[in-house]
Symmetry: C2
Subunit: 164 residues, 2 copies
């Protein structure tokens, strides 16, 4: 039972590592050069602060997931990791939400503010960002599962915490 639980936790963290790493890589490689009215224009993620924040959040998330995967977790360290999990989950949620809000404006525009959609001009860039957002969203869901498993586990079986 304890082995299954450990395997499950390992698997979740491994998936979280994969999701956050791909989100960071796909976002970092999203760039497209297009020509509008004879003016060459390069769309890249680093032009938008929200996309940069998304990249940084997912880079931190993947490094953190890898460290937690490699470290043996017991005692004080295990407790510290539970607190860090909450913070990393919030960081990832924040990154995905900010990037999603900007990507929505890029896709649909906002006629009230006079912001035109740009996805018609830079289709590849938008597809790349969409991919990164999907991976980032998967990372958030996996971390939510990690958090929920932990609170359910520690709250429902408070005595098990010291044993496992």
């Amino acid at each position: 039972m304890a082995k299954t639980k450990k395997l499950c936790a390992f698997l979740l963290r491994f998936l979280a590592f994969g999701a956050t790493l791909s989100a960071a890589i796909v976002m970092a490689t999203s760039r497209e050069t297009t020509t509008v009215f004879n003016v060459s224009y390069e769309a890249k993620y680093s032009n938008t602060p929200a996309f940069k924040f998304f990249f940084i959040a997912n880079a931190i998330g993947s490094v953190y997931s890898l460290i937690v995967l490699l470290l043996p977790l017991w005692g004080e360290l295990r407790r510290f990791v539970m607190v860090l999990d909450v913070i990393v989950t919030m960081l990832l949620t924040s990154g995905v939400s900010a990037a999603l809000a900007i990507a929505y404006v890029g896709k649909k525009g906002n006629s009230h503010a006079g912001w035109l959609p740009i996805c018609g001009q830079v289709t590849d860039f938008c597809d790349h960002v969409t991919g990164a957002l999907i991976a980032g969203f998967a990372g958030v869901i996996i971390y939510l599962l990690v958090l929920l498993c932990q609170s359910i586990h520690t709250v429902f079986n408070p005595l098990l915490v010291l044993k496992t």
Copy 2:
């Protein structure tokens, strides 16, 4: 000791209720009519999906905080609330991040995407949104404290969970 802890938890939840309620109200009342080139134009929060999401997230957060304040928490309910706390914190984080990303474009614009800043035309609206974001941010910090207190409390004192 248990009484101090309970008072502290009550105070945190009360502050969270205040912060999320003010964030929702300030966002909902943010509207300004301005005239640009003889065309009357009304800026309001409901024109921007991210601001609507922020309002909904904070409205849900304040109703939830109020319910938790009023209900006596023990046994199963207490455990359920701990799981809901994680979800509400993520919802609030998500709302603030999305609104902040859009507010940043409203303030600074994004020259690469051709989105012009609008805060010069609708100063009052922008001030209102800034106020709402500050209150929303306070709500997130308070919920983060609630979560961290809970994980530190349950993880460091697993035996106390059943007693209090």
